[in-house]
Subunit: 242 residues, 2 copies
Amino acid sequence: MDALTNPRAMAGQCRATTDCEHCRVRFLSVCAALDRDELAELEAIAQSIHFDAKETIFLEGEDARALYNVTCGTLRLYRLFDDGRRQIIGFALPGDFLGLDLASSHAFSADAIDAVSACRFSRTSFTALTERKPHLLRRLHSATTRELSAAQDQVMALGRRSAEEKVAWFLIHLRERYARVGDRTTMIALPMSRLDIADFLGLTIETVSRTLTRLARDESIAIDPGGIRLVDVRRIEQLAAA
Amino acid sequence: MDALTNPRAMAGQCRATTDCEHCRVRFLSVCAALDRDELAELEAIAQSIHFDAKETIFLEGEDARALYNVTCGTLRLYRLFDDGRRQIIGFALPGDFLGLDLASSHAFSADAIDAVSACRFSRTSFTALTERKPHLLRRLHSATTRELSAAQDQVMALGRRSAEEKVAWFLIHLRERYARVGDRTTMIALPMSRLDIADFLGLTIETVSRTLTRLARDESIAIDPGGIRLVDVRRIEQLAAA
DNA sequence: CGTTGAGTTGACCATCGTCAACAGGAGTGG
DNA sequence: CCACTCCTGTTGACGATGGTCAACTCAACG
């Protein structure tokens, strides 16, 4: 398993740094648009920052003073309803960028699930940089497009599908995302809790738990500490696509 | 009721034109970024086009040869599952832009619900124009951001909410969108069928129908031919936000 | 005047949510 | 080192919400 996606291997390694040129997520992220000189400009306005597990990065509605480029760890992005129900609208992984919209206030809340490191940019400096670098803006636009497509995938997953299909989709979806930063293995790390998964899929924690145990009894998956191993990949993929 | 949102009033008026300067949706749309000369450039590559009700504009996966700016009418945007289930991921209204991502293939299918007029741009010419006009790109980016936020709103609506809450949200959501092009009235035109609403909300046609009749029995709404009238706006808003 | 398609309503049933109990591991304090 | 709590996850019993199947109405259209 790749170091970027293995929670155990990551634990000791989640260190902040602003050495862009040797950054692990450089080619995945918005920064990939920049040449060496431009990268230096970006590095000049970047601050490296670290969050412990369960720390809150920002809250929905707050002034967006900064943008973040995640270099390691996992975050949950969510909104709350008036009555306290929580909907998780995504998990941010290494390479993901928070604040793509350059909006003046945050559209959702974000907190660290495990230890997280990120590059932090002040919104005003970053916005100024996009004024001067059209291809950075272009890159930003294509990243936003990817986000949009991810949101639409989630809509597909939530609309009128069974719990089993949702959970299978979640596993495959996470696997594809890990594949961007590492290998596409059959081992899927789950740094998030069952409650997080439930709030992401519009299910309850009990249904998630039951569905996973049922899939495990079927020998479609195996439940390992810290993650899931896909045993019958084909079957899970079929459920996910159905 | 505003002409742009009244299906009856629109029926005879849905005419194609490329007179940008007098375009009704000019200030709502991506074009608003352009000054007079630039608008002329855009007009030069625009083609006006008309679709009858039920015509397909494009299919998911097809080569995206063109982008469209809707000037009147309503479209449904959707994706199909392998088993034939359909998920509607949005309705396009006047002022909406299809193809914001500038991607080479369509991420979803689109067809006309009622009569639709649009400005059509070849993707290559439009992309070329964005190369020369950074503020057009900027405008494109902010439109994509709005789309993203709309998709996240839909995720909020689909995750673990009751049928009543979903339907109420749909009505309020549609009302807000109509408000962008016209007035925020209590009368909400529903050009789309019950099946369209069901496929948008992840419900069945029967549940949508039952829920609407229940809300009508409560005197929260009134079901008129061609639309819904909000009687107890407060109550519907409460349900929608819950 | 028959056909077709959209919408409504009813009866029944499955899935998933709710409530509750329990297991096991991590952390804490005596 | 053990007992205790706390937290997460699992499992069971039960019930409600919403899906399924079917019948029916009504308007549009030939």
